[in-house]
Amino acid sequence: MTSTRLALEHVTYHYPATAAPALADVSLELHGGEVVGVIGSVGAGASTLLLVAAELAPRVLGGTRSGAVRCDGRSALLLPTPWTQVSGMAVSVWDEVAFGPANLGWPRDRISSAVDRALTRVDVAQLRDRDPGTLSGGELQRVILAGILAMEPEVLLLDEPTAELDPAGARFVWDLLRALARAGTAVLVATSDLDALPGAADRVVWLAGGRVRAAGAARVVLGDAALWSDDGPGSTSAAGAWRLAGLPTPLPLTVADVLARLP
């Protein structure tokens, strides 16, 4: 783990024309080389946290923010719906992935190598000549992710990156995020794929009502019984099954944990 890449200090954010804050007094540090998961029920503020971290709120969305956001390096945000992120200015997947790097004004050689590397890394090199409009949701999700990675961000922000993917595709993306973190990228990911977090995230932040309800090591936060309260998102499937069976705490988080605990 390296230096602090992203820091939110006592951030409170209101969307335009709303009285209640979407985020309230949120502080968070993200370091290079770590994956931090953001979890919470619907409306807890996880997506808003990413928009504020990407400095799109309030700059693009409007509203008001107090507190400070500091980002050391280039950040890029993957939004949850891939079809709204298509540039509309590309006739091929290669062009689509090159859209971001071209906007950064890079020389063509650098764009070309960054795009080829991103396509290979996300395992969509075979789609390079396809029209983006003909891709399935899962293919498009990967292509948009490749477009974000091609911009070589130091801070990678992802909102439900596995929403459109099948289980194998989701596992691929989680492995990719770990590999990116090993290479020094700081990764902040909002997800409802809680089963993936024990293996993929170093730390987890639990948001409830726009506030940080708990933050810490992934296994500690995901093992917190309070996650099963009314405003909690629950935890992993293994923990849920263990809890339903009325077995003693601490809750196991993965199938491997369950097997290790069974007599």
């Binding site: 890029a76 992120q85 200015m89 006739v91 004004g105 477009g147």
Partner: protein
């Protein structure tokens, strides 16, 4: 139903010719209608011949800001995209029992059931698309690198300058 470029030009220009005839008679209709039809045909021909992504590349290579090029491209591609979306919404509404075929009243009721989600979903998408374009560096303030702009031969550049000079000369001749 698919129209040829010529058919689209005629269909677009026809109402103007009708109004011009009612307002100015045959002479005025022909004089102004031909100019209007030329403008419409030029615009539609540009849209049909050059895919919007290529237009953006050409404009960026010619030194236009990428945001201006994107705005023009998005305008040109808005109608086909809205048409695709309307077809999807109509299919979805039919799956939920909406009748879209029948008399004028039935079609009018169907239109309302399609237009409202069409407009609302388009407005919703505008916000998300703005965020996505922003995070992918569109408004980064840096000059975009043109990836594969259409070739711009010296003879084409010369022809453009020639047309510009001809326009200025025509204006001078007209108002002198």
């Amino acid at each position: 139903m698919r129209f040829t470029l010529l058919g689209t030009v005629i269909l677009t220009a026809a109402p103007f010719w009708l109004f011009l005839f009612l307002l100015h008679g045959v002479t005025g209709m022909v004089a102004t209608g031909l100019r209007l039809t030329t403008m419409i045909a030029s615009f539609l021909w540009l849209g049909a011949a050059l895919p919007p992504p290529r237009l953006v590349e050409a404009m960026v290579a010619a030194g236009w800001p990428v945001t201006a090029a994107f705005l023009l491209s998005a305008t040109l591609s808005a109608v086909p995209k809205l048409r695709e979306r309307a077809v999807r919404i109509a299919d979805a509404q039919r799956c939920r029992g909406l009748r879209t075929r029948g008399g004028p009243l039935v079609r009018l009721a169907a239109l309302r059931a399609i237009a409202l989600p069409l407009v609302l979903s388009a407005l919703h998408e505008v916000d998300e698309r703005a965020l996505a374009l922003e995070t992918r560096g569109l408004a980064h303030g840096v000059r975009r690198t043109p990836l594969a702009p259409p070739p711009d031969r010296p003879v084409e550049r010369l022809a453009r300058w020639g047309l510009l000079v001809a326009c200025v000369a025509a204006l001078v001749w007209r108002f002198a």
